[in-house]
Amino acid sequence: MGKWIIPGAGVIWLLGCFLLLIEYDLETEVALLDSVFFSLIFLGGVFVLDRVFGLFAPKGKNVWLLFAVPFFLSLMGVLVHFYGLSWWYEGEEVYLGFLSSNFYLRWAILALAEQLVSVLALVVSKLERQEEIQKREAQMLQLSKDAELAQLRQQLQPHFLFNSLNSINALVISQPQKAREMVLQLSEFLRGTIRKDSQTWISLEEELNYLKLYLQIERVRFGHRLEVDFEVDQEFLSIKLPQLLIQPLVENAIKHGLYGVTGNVKIGISGKKEGSYFLLEVDNPFDPESTSAEGTGFGLSSVERRLFLLFGRTDLLEYGPEGNLFRVKLKIPQFQ
């Protein structure tokens, strides 16, 4: 319970008792002592009950404790109060008569109040525990989300790396300058995938530059077969988006383009504003006749998962064949 609730209840209890006793024509001093003592007993009871039911929640067979504990505690309280004051004011017959006449009334009031306090303590502790659990769950979720995001982002196709190294191997003798260039491009690309500040969003311009780096490497591998067409307006270059969201889409398009059809492959990448979204489209040639050997692949599902983790939505990525093209549409929330 809140820090101020118990002392506050004590003060109210004290004031109530005192005024009531004055009303019963008790002397101020006697009324004050009586009410202070009674309040302390009340506070002691509240303290004990708060401790007991804050830590221990009676369940099933033990529910009777929720009623029995305040019942006996209040009985003990009024007995202590009664005998304490009887001893203190020994011989003052009028007051002692008053004290014994309202013994059961006091017990009833104290029992009722403590009963209420017990139930309250129980409810509050339950709520607190629930809140605690929720907080911990939220933390766990965030942690696993971060880990999964990092893992998804770093999911590098290992054969991309091996094939690139193979190309470098081939270039070393015939075109050493080009081999060196490719080593640098590949390093820069790899550095991008293991960037530490992975949670920060980057500008579209940065993402596109990164994409171009990737495409340069792929161009070395596949030569003239691969052509890429960029169509993104200058005005969008400054918009922000999560890192490495577009690259897997392009990688997927290249993979399916290059392995799905023979001959030259043209990958189209375009970006525009659509409502409150930045809409990015990636398309690759597609042969409706042939079945891919390995389905839509890991690329798209990993982007879908990331979008869900980032935005909690599953409707931001759409894909499917459109005639002789396979088109992927990515919507990134922007322009609020």
Binding site: F162, N163, R221, R225, L258, E289, S290, T291, A293
Partner: protein
């Protein structure tokens, strides 16, 4: 002269094979192909002694191309994917070069080839038993004269054994592929296809009815109107997968 063909969709990857192979004057490169279609044509035309074959290529994979050859030459696989090594071994490949590979490793592969070449084994000796490869796939690649046709597995109504071949019945026609029923059965998803008879495997999706034919034999009716005989064991299998 040992006549070779290189099949790889990455020009640089093909060029490194060319470069390394130049060290061995007894080899002659007849053609460098960029996909399985060109490769198939070149192999049929030149009948090479040895091919260097990439796995991941446009439209059809290196393995699928090999399946289409009646008399495959000796093969050295060159690929960045190590998960195909076992399959390549089953295909009786000469060797399996993981990209990127060194000149020393390349020489080792060539030596291995030359060894069996000299004792005359490499010459058509390494008859691949591709039919022994049991890998789940969602498509079949068949040869129709000089064309290649890719059949999505779900389009197949049923398979019928015909001597060394299997005829693949689809709504668009019937295709032949050299393969055994046992291998085929292993590559198919048992939840979608069932071998109901020694000579028949049917697509469960296409079943429209089952009727008793004679005592202990049944007939399955398919969507295309065909009637397929079902053996006694086939029937109990069918009951099991269909949950009858």
């Amino acid at each position: 002269m040992i006549r070779t063909i290189i099949i790889d969709d990455e020009p640089l990857a093909a060029s490194i094979v060319q470069e390394f192979l130049a060290e061995f004057p007894q080899f002659q490169i007849l053609e460098v192909c960029q996909d399985g279609f060109q490769g198939l044509k070149a192999i049929q035309q030149h009948k090479p002694d040895l091919i260097f074959l990439d796995v991941q290529m446009p439209k059809i994979t290196g393995f699928e191309m090999l399946e289409l050859l009646d008399e495959p030459p000796a093969v050295i696989f060159t690929t960045a994917f190590d998960q195909y090594a076992l399959k390549a071994f089953d295909a009786k490949a000469m060797d399996y070069l993981l990209k990127p590979f060194s000149q020393a490793r390349f020489k080792q592969a060539i030596d291995r080839f030359l060894e069996s070449w000299e004792i005359g084994k490499a010459e058509r000796g390494a008859e691949p038993e591709l039919s022994q490869l049991a890998e789940k796939s969602n498509r079949l690649v068949v040869r129709v004269k000089n064309d290649i046709k890719i059949i999505p597995i779900q389009d197949v109504a049923f398979f019928e054994a015909e001597d060394d071949y299997i005829s693949i019945h689809t709504p668009s026609g019937k295709y032949l592929k050299k393969m055994t029923m046992k291998t085929l059965e292993e590559t198919l998803d048992p939840g979608k296809f069932a071998r109901v008879h020694r000579s028949y495997i049917i697509n469960l999706n296409g079943i429209t009815g089952i009727e008793t034919y004679e005592r202990d034999t049944y007939l399955v009716k398919l969507r295309g109107g065909q009637q397929i005989p079902v053996s006694k064991t086939g029937y109990s299998k069918l009951r099991q997968v269909l949950g009858m």
